[in-house]
Symmetry: C2
Subunit: 337 residues, 2 copies
């Protein structure tokens, strides 16, 4: 199926189709120099499958993990493109999860002030969420996504077949974002997670999540208003994630934790049941002081208030200004002592 993202001059299509990775040259213009960025955690067969379809493809593999979203890795990739003689008419393809997509997108956005960018997300998280929307970035000084821009891909190719080999924890990590979108925008999608074996309906979950994100991004490309709902669970989630000692939680797991304090008690009860069934964390031992400090550095902070998305009733949301002081007790709800 093809989902059209309507963003004026920045419009693009998202193709969701089993087997599409192996025929991406029919969907993308690979008849030029192609810089394929992937990471060491992604099966090499996936990037090789893309390269095999290029006229002149080069694979660059960064180390798996958030540490690759750095200005130094960004500079290294740009330098490689330069050495390989990439020109403005060539392109960048991301093959991997959110780290690869965010990093590759920023490289594509700034190499010669922008070359074509294609995204082939290979994790649940990136297929349902991070591969679309055009937010590209790297981290700096321990703060996530602080350096970047808005840059839309020319096309996104989603092949659910590539999820088959993912470990269960990785899949749940991605589904956390779908739970997030369902809670603010689509109670029907949320109810899929309240039934047994939601992963049997993964194609449906991907498409429903993409439709929510599409609608939000189309209305607010540059995150000036509505798009904030996509940050549900992220304000606290990012703070937990930034906390330096904590390298053993995935992004979706942090978002899972981050949603818990931002719900009404009744929604929270349903949410916790869903998170448990997906083996997602509902408490975690982290340094509350450090997380609190990271919170006040978050992009969404203004003065002494943090604006966060709050869900009173499943399928809807409101923006809530939360004084920094009361965030401490919110963190207490999810901090394991």
């Amino acid at each position: 199926m093809k989902i059209h993202m309507e963003l004026g001059a920045n419009s693009y299509d998202i193709v969701v189709e089993r087997g599409s990775l192996h025929k991406c040259s029919t969907l993308l213009n690979l008849n030029r120099k192609v810089f394929i960025i992937t990471d060491s955690g992604i099966p090499t067969a996936l990037s090789e499958a893309v390269r095999a379809q290029c006229r002149e493809g080069y694979i660059s593999t960064v180390a798996q993990g958030e540490a690759s979203k750095s200005i130094s890795v960004y500079e290294k990739l740009l330098g490689e493109m330069l050495s390989l003689g990439f020109s403005r008419g060539d392109c960048v393809v991301a093959v991997g999860g959110g780290v690869v997509g965010d990093l590759s997108g920023f490289v594509a956005a700034s190499y010669m002030r922008g070359v074509d960018f294609y995204n082939i997300p290979t994790t649940v998280l990136s297929q349902i969420d991070s591969s679309i929307g055009g937010k590209v970035a790297v981290n700096l000084g321990g703060i996530k996504n602080i350096v970047g821009t808005f840059y839309q891909p020319k096309k996104v190719v989603i092949d659910p077949d590539v999820l088959a080999t993912l470990p269960k924890r990785q899949i749940s990590n991605g589904l956390a974002e779908a739970v997030k979108m369902s809670l603010t925008s689509d109670e029907e999608l949320f109810s899929i997670f309240e039934q047994p074996n939601p992963t049997d309906r993964i194609d449906e979950i991907i498409i429903k999540s993409l439709m929510i994100k599409k609608s939000v991004v189309e209305q607010d490309e540059k995150e000036s208003g509505l798009r904030k709902i996509l940050n549900f669970g992220h304000t606290i989630g990012h703070a937990v994630e930034s906390e330096a000692e904590l390298k053993d939680l995935y992004h979706g797991e942090c978002v899972a934790l981050g949603m818990i304090p931002m719900c009404s008690p009744e929604v929270r009860k349903r949410l916790i049941r869903v998170l448990k069934s997906l083996s997602l964390p509902i408490r975690y031992p982290f340094d509350e002081e450090k997380a609190l400090k990271a919170l006040t550095h978050d992009k969404k902070s203004k003065g002494n208030m943090v604006t966060a998305v709050y869900v009173e009733k499943a399928g809807s949301f409101k923006l809530k200004d939360i004084p920094c002081e009361s965030l401490k007790s919110d963190l207490g709800l999810i901090c394991e002592r």
Copy 2:
């Protein structure tokens, strides 16, 4: 006088007014955190005059010269903003020439995916050219402007009074870009340079040059077509500039050299007379092989052809595809042996 740059959602005003530096708080919103970027070659009085008008202003001074347009300086500035707790609602002000403007613009474009950017150009070159148009960038691997984006300022404040203390060579450096614009687009402006003492008419030259650039940028914000005319003299100019040994030529001087081979013989004759009267170079000893190599790395190169702007008749131009082989003899026209 106020020149309005019409770029839809990215529109902004350029204020050209003597004394405007000292009342920029009436023109810009400085009632927030303000990150002022300047360089060691700009009189500190200028950046201090801006800071004095801010509620909370911070000055960061980079080393004078092209070497500051690097990813490492870019990262350092972003890190400073982060340490100072800058948020998305704060702003960046460039006080300086093209190096400061290009670097600051890229910092502003990517800090938290974009904060407001104001440009206060303090050299002739930046006042007539580089401060408007939204091209922001740093250099990499010896190639100019290879990493960057398009990011429009919120306002540009041009105060011709600040030019008073500039050395003559700096002024001629800037006027080279005005000569460039006049040759492709405005023979009347070119004729000012054919008369005695053109610098007495500097305000007029600034405004006429801005009007040309405004018209070009409005029609082609992202440099997909028409905007190429602004690159007149730059294809060869950049190659001469990139050539590593050559640190003693200014940008405008390189553009002056770069224009010479790209004119018809009769225009070339008039151009050389003008360049001489402005004490701009018409020949220079550089390594032709290295310059040729840099040329083929230039953003404007496509395969074995370089597309360059060519002036057959003053005030008009055409795009010409030049085979890499014949560039060698073009370089011969300006290379002093």
